[in-house]
């Protein structure tokens, strides 16, 4: 029975039968009257400017025995060179991890972690910064480390290498997560792929970054007059000011030339894009166009408009698309505004593949509706009250207060901007919202991006308009070949001449054909398995390879011009890509190179000495202009025999770093050849070939290379 009490009470309330319930009665929310909120004490951080230009904000907070610090530095990835994307981020990281001139990063780690303190530095898109957290009693030591890191970073090479590995890993993993793909690609569609606000790292841009670049980037931006510090916690303001002055006293002011904030050119228009992702059953959708800045006079009305449109459970998108239609777990929209460059107005979410187009239409409709009629009084009230009633949460921690004032000063906003925001929000009317929606939301000029499985869509994406497909294949790093000099070319040829001599000398020049029979074991996810292999090479250039597998025989033939495959299913022409790969594989065959490196098609140069499995080797880089590929030959400096070759080649469709290791040399008919070859792909064993029988100049006839 008790269960229904509330129900009846509720009905009474709804029908207005109860006036004001007594003080001790349970109340429905509509009956509640609230006491005035205790005005939050909003302390103002003390601002100082030290003689060398460091701007300092201090705010005491004695609740807990902790001291925290935030720093902002005027720098950012938007000012890194386009061919060195990642420089700012790596600089921000290695500043700390690479240690200082007097202590290594590892020593700093040991010292800080023993006292549960942290000092971290970073550089983001439009600012750099640092965070420090320390127990009160350790503050002196930690401030010294922090100042040292900012002033005297050593950028040790080992930690740059570590950062590079992490960057490469980030690149390799960037297509693993569909949400990440959607955000990244959508941002590029709005700002342009080369924009400082959208571009991202590639293997090549990471390769381009050197230690000198880090040092230069740090020197360009890190000076006391370009740094602001905010500190809050358990300290005395005067004492803390003195501590900071002392910690940074040796840092000299210097002229900082901050580049201008990059412009954002934008052309409105409808554009639709698609990215195929086979391994998902949900479509990620993003629609939008360029947004605005926080200091635009219409920002406040737009902020409310986007609140009503798509922010939180009270918004139209949440109610109409999630709650009413069950189309998405997350759906929303926001008017994107930044402090000093335009943000992105965007909406989106994810829905099952089978409702993709319906979902896109539903999102577009909500945006369209905002531009067609006024929002209701109730909607405006809910949105305004939500912002105004939660305003107190802007002041509930000292950290928020200090960080906000740092941010406002950094971007040149008035320090009472938040209070201005509140006053302006209060003033916005329904007419204002319709006016700004009409002016700024352009539902017919949206950029639309869908990421998912096209074959499962409810309708083709093209029903919405012309679709362009985006390829998100990660570009492999272009191998940078060192410029050959007279000296390196001569030395390279000399080494290859020795290697050719070791392989047979005159007999090698007279080589007509070579037949190799043996076994190849291949590493697959299911384990290792072996196939019988027979390989025949006839010069000038014919090639035939037969693999005997449990389920039958497969033969591949290249007759110098055409290539085909023969199997139980009959004869099939090899696709052009495969033919090319066969030609490439012959062109990079060490024996073939040793016979022909003097031909004009090959460029040969000595690169360096390197140790291969304990053997000192000369490394010679050979580039073949006909197949446009480079292979490195590693020649044993004592025996002159080849111990290794390395090159890039496609492996199951994607380029891979291949290495071949040669061993078990034997001489057959005057030609010295390796009987065992280990093949590594990206550092892992992929296959191994062992020859049991090798015939040289056995008089192979052309019949082997003709179609039957």
């Amino acid at each position: 029975m008790k269960r229904y009490l509330n129900f009846f009470l509720g009905l009474l309330v709804l029908f207005g039968f109860v006036s004001e319930a007594g003080a001790q009665k349970v109340k429905h929310y509509k009956q509640l009257k609230y006491p005035a909120l205790r005005e939050p004490v909003v302390p103002e951080p003390a601002r100082y400017e030290l003689p060398n230009g460091v701007v300092l904000f201090l705010l005491e907070d004695h609740e807990l025995p902790i001291i925290e610090l935030s720093a902002i530095v005027r720098t950012g990835a938007r000012w890194e060179p386009a061919d060195k994307i990642g420089l700012a981020s790596i600089t921000g990281q290695v500043m700390r991890t690479g240690g200082t001139t007097t202590r290594t990063g590892d020593e700093i780690d040991d010292e800080l972690e023993a006292i549960a303190a942290s000092v971290e530095t970073f550089i983001g898109g439009n600012s750099g910064g640092a965070r420090v957290s320390v127990m009160r009693e350790d503050v002196d030591d930690v401030l010294n480390i922090f100042a040292d890191v900012l002033m005297n970073p050593a950028f040790r090479e080992d930690k740059i290498d570590l950062a590079r590995i992490q960057q490469r890993d980030g690149i390799a993993r960037r297509n693993d997560n569909v949400l990440g793909i959607t955000s990244r690609e959508f941002t590029k569609l709005i700002y342009g792929g080369a924009s400082p606000y959208a571009r991202h790292t590639e293997y090549e841009t990471i390769e381009n970054i050197t230690r000198d670049d880090l040092i230069a980037f740090h020197r360009q931006f890190y000076a006391p007059n370009n740094v602001m510090l905010g500190i809050w916690g358990d300290f005395d303001t005067d004492e803390m000011k003195k501590k900071i002055e002392l910690a940074f006293k040796d840092w000299q002011r210097s002229e900082i030339d901050v580049p201008p904030v990059p412009e954002v050119p934008y052309k409105f228009g409808q554009r639709i894009y698609f990215i195929q992702k086979d391994d998902v059953n949900q479509t990620n959708v993003r629609v939008g166009h360029l947004g605005g800045r926080i200091d635009d006079s219409d920002y406040f009305a737009l902020d409310l408009a986007s609140e009503i449109l798509g922010s939180g459970p009270a918004s139209r998108m949440f109610k109409n698309i999630r709650s009413a239609q069950g189309l998405a777990y997350s759906v929303g929209a926001s008017w994107g505004a930044n402090y000093d460059y335009p943000g992105i107005f965007q909406g989106g979410g994810q829905t099952k593949s089978e409702s993709s187009i319906r979902f896109i239409r539903a999102i577009l409709k909500e945006i369209q509706d905002m531009t067609e009629s006024e929002v209701t009084d109730e909607e405006l009230r809910v949105a305004k009250e939500g912002i105004l009633n939660s305003f107190v949460f802007n002041f509930d921690t000292k950290g928020e207060i200090v960080n906000r004032i740092l941010r406002y000063e950094y971007f040149g906003y008035p320090k009472d901007f938040l209070q201005q925001y509140k006053r302006n929000i209060e003033k916005v009317s329904k007419a204002d919202i319709l006016r700004v929606a009409k002016k700024y939301f352009k539902p017919d000029q949206m950029v639309i991006l869908a990421v998912g499985r096209a074959e499962d869509f409810d309708e083709p994406l093209s029903t919405l308009g012309t679709v362009a497909t985006i390829d998100i294949t990660i570009p492999e790093p272009e191998e940078v070949l060192p410029e050959p000099t007279e000296e390196t070319v001569a030395k390279g040829k000399e080494i290859l001449a020795d290697a050719a001599e070791a392989a047979g000398g005159g007999r090698l020049k007279a080589l007509k054909d070579i037949t190799q029979v043996g076994e190849m074991s291949m590493v697959t996810p299911q384990g290792e398995f072996a196939v019988a292999l027979e390989s025949v090479l006839k010069l000038p250039l014919k090639f035939r390879q037969t693999m005997k597998m449990p389920f039958g025989e497969m033969t591949m033939v290249f007759d110098g011009e055409t290539a085909w495959m023969k199997s139980a299913q009959g004869i099939q022409d090899a696709p052009e890509s495969q033919k090319k790969e066969i030609q490439s594989s012959v062109a990079r065959e060490p024996l073939y190179i040793l016979m022909n490196y003097d031909l004009p098609r090959y460029t040969v140069q000595f690169v360096k000495e390197e140790t291969v499995d304990g053997t000192k080797a000369h490394v010679v880089l050979v580039h073949d202009s006909e197949t446009d590929q480079a292979v490195r030959l590693f020649c044993d400096s004592k025996t002159n025999r080849l111990v290794k070759s390395s090159y890039t080649a496609p492996w199951m469709g994607t380029p891979a770093k291949m290495e071949e290791f040669y061993s078990d040399y034997e001489t057959v008919n005057g030609i010295t050849i390796p009987f065992k070859t280990l093949i590594n792909k990206d550092g892992q064993k992929a296959a191994e070939t062992v020859w049991t029988e090798v015939k040289v100049n056995a008089g192979v006839t052309d019949a082997l290379f003709t179609r039957e």
């Binding site: 509720g10 590995i165 490469r168 993993r173 391994d279 770093k657």
Partner: protein, 500 residues
């Protein structure tokens, strides 16, 4: 009259200022400020007044999680959590009497549709279509009485922030924060929610949950790995079953089942509520009695009796995904209340906290095999015996197996060498600092207090865990490593990139 609390504020602030954390009595002072009381119906409240700012955070911790999902209804605990935002008879409806009838009609239509659909290939296509339409129509009719999302809108409008909920294997938590003049709003809404929730728009919300499953599991390589991993690591205990639910279960759960689940598990003695912020404990108690004692008490359910049997041998698997490699390695261990739990916490710190941790230094810094590596205790929950989980993201060009071997070396080191004093001291220092830092967040503290209360039987454990970590010795670590980190007790799961 309202002025009185204002005068009290400076006094309380003064009291706060005088707490010193130089010694451990800092925590004692906090402990002393925490007020606990239990209502007649068994519902427990924990209150920590903290008057720094006029805001307050609320956490309702329900001792029910996906572990309690009945067979064939996996995901129902989580689905109910979604439904708890749909309102009550007086919130969310234009005319509840009519709405109630309409909802019953939806229930009946769905029952018929489900029965026909479960015939599978033998289902009558014509009939299916007709029943589908009937079901759609019934839902449309019920929707006419909706005051859609009124419950969350009221909170949003009142200035509520961080409104959300979460379902774990062990628990379901509901939380948000309000300006402190509106605490009565929370009492009104939260008590109503658990007194008489109306599971309206159930089948649409079920669609939303399916989208959540697609988002978190089916379209995420890591989501797939974790779901697979748990099902391999557990063969008996429900920790092995997907918390968000199997798709086919989600497709068949009915509103009545969710309602029944609520009746069984959302009894007052299964709830603990933590309130942290600008409140007066006496006022909280007065309101708690008034609002929450309305909820009738019920029989406390029995805990799950299934225990995971000892593993008979190592379990390994790999899934092929369009993803780079990831490896996870789990070892079965005891629950949070076991004496060795603090030892595992120390091990977790030594192995994976920060750049001085052993796994970072070995796998990431020195061997450069991985970009991230770590190990932590309490996966996927802590209430029942759970797993200590190691993980690594191999660096480009390196394999899961290489990482596994390097993790194995660190485990071997724990088993054979005594951890040095400095390392152990660091783990203890950090445990203390972390606890101090947690005190800075109302929401965080509310969550911690309720969690410790429910999982260990007392919120005081939150503070006592420090003493327990402080008591851990190097010998304990060696013993625990030898006892638990055995090959037989191990499950290894990995993602291998699909070759395409």
């Amino acid at each position: 009259m309202r002025k009185i609390p204002y005068l009290l504020v400076p006094l309380i602030l003064l009291a706060l200022l005088s707490t010193t954390f130089g010694q451990e009595d800092g925590f004692k002072a906090v402990e002393k400020r925490i007020v606990e009381f239990t209502l007649d119906n068994g519902l427990k409240f924990l209150v920590l007044p903290r008057r720094e700012a006029p805001v307050v955070s609320f956490v309702t911790y329900a001792d029910v999680g996906s572990t309690d999902d009945p067979k064939g209804q996996t995901g129902i605990a989580h689905l109910f959590e979604h439904m708890a935002f749909k309102g009550t008879p007086t919130i969310g409806s234009k005319d509840f009497k009519k709405e109630k009838t309409a909802i019953q009609k939806v229930d009946r239509a769905y029952a018929k549709l489900k029965r026909e659909r479960l015939k599978g290939e033998k289902a009558d296509a014509e009939r299916l279509k007709a029943l589908g339409e009937e079901f759609e129509k019934a839902q449309e009719e019920a929707a006419e009485y909706l005051e859609r999302d009124e419950y969350s809108t009221v909170i949003d409008r009142a200035g509520g922030v961080g409104l959300n909920a979460g379902t774990g294997n062990d628990m379901t938590v509901y939380f948000y924060s309000l300006p402190s003049n509106k605490i009565e709003l929370w009492f009104s809404l939260e008590s109503d929610r658990f007194l008489n929730p109306v599971l309206r728009e159930f089948y649409t919300e079920r669609d939303v949950v399916m989208e959540e499953r697609r988002l978190r599991i089916e379209s995420q390589p890591i989501g797939k790995l974790v779901e697979e991993f748990l099902s391999v690591a557990y063969k008996a205990h429900p920790y092995g079953v997907s918390g968000i639910g199997h798709m086919s279960d989600l497709q068949n759960i009915t509103r009545e089942q969710a309602e029944e689940f609520f009746q069984v598990y959302y009894i007052p003695s299964n709830l603990t509520i933590a309130v942290v912020g600008d409140v007066d404990a006496g006022e909280v108690e007065r309101l708690a009695k008034m609002y929450f004692e309305r909820i009738p008490s019920g029989p406390k359910r029995l805990p799950i009796s299934t225990t995971e049997p000892p593993q008979r041998g190592q379990r390994r698997f790999a899934i092929e995904e369009q993803s780079q490699r990831i490896i996870v390695i789990g070892y079965h261990k005891e629950s949070i209340t076991h004496k060795d739990n603090a030892v595992f916490d120390a091990i977790s710190d030594i192995l994976s906290a920060g750049r001085t941790s052993r796994l970072y230094r070995s796998l990431v810094r020195d061997k450069k095999l991985a970009t991230i590596a770590g190990g932590f205790s309490g996966f996927p929950g802590e209430k029942y015996p759970n797993l200590f989980l190691f993980f690594a993201f191999p660096a480009p060009g390196h394999t899961n197996e290489e990482c596994e071997e390097a993790i194995g070396e660190e485990i071997e080191r724990l088993k054979t060498e005594l951890v040095d004093e400095g390392t152990l001291k660091k783990a203890k220092t950090r445990a203390r600092a972390n606890l101090i830092r947690q005190l800075n967040s109302n929401q965080g503290m509310a969550f911690q207090l309720a969690t410790y209360e429910m999982l260990t039987g007392s919120w005081r454990e939150l503070f006592q865990q420090l003493d327990k970590i402080n008591a851990v010795t190097a010998e304990d670590i060696k013993r625990v490593a030898n006892e638990y980190f055995t090959i037989k007790n191990r499950t290894v799961g990995m993602i291998e990139p699909a070759s395409r």
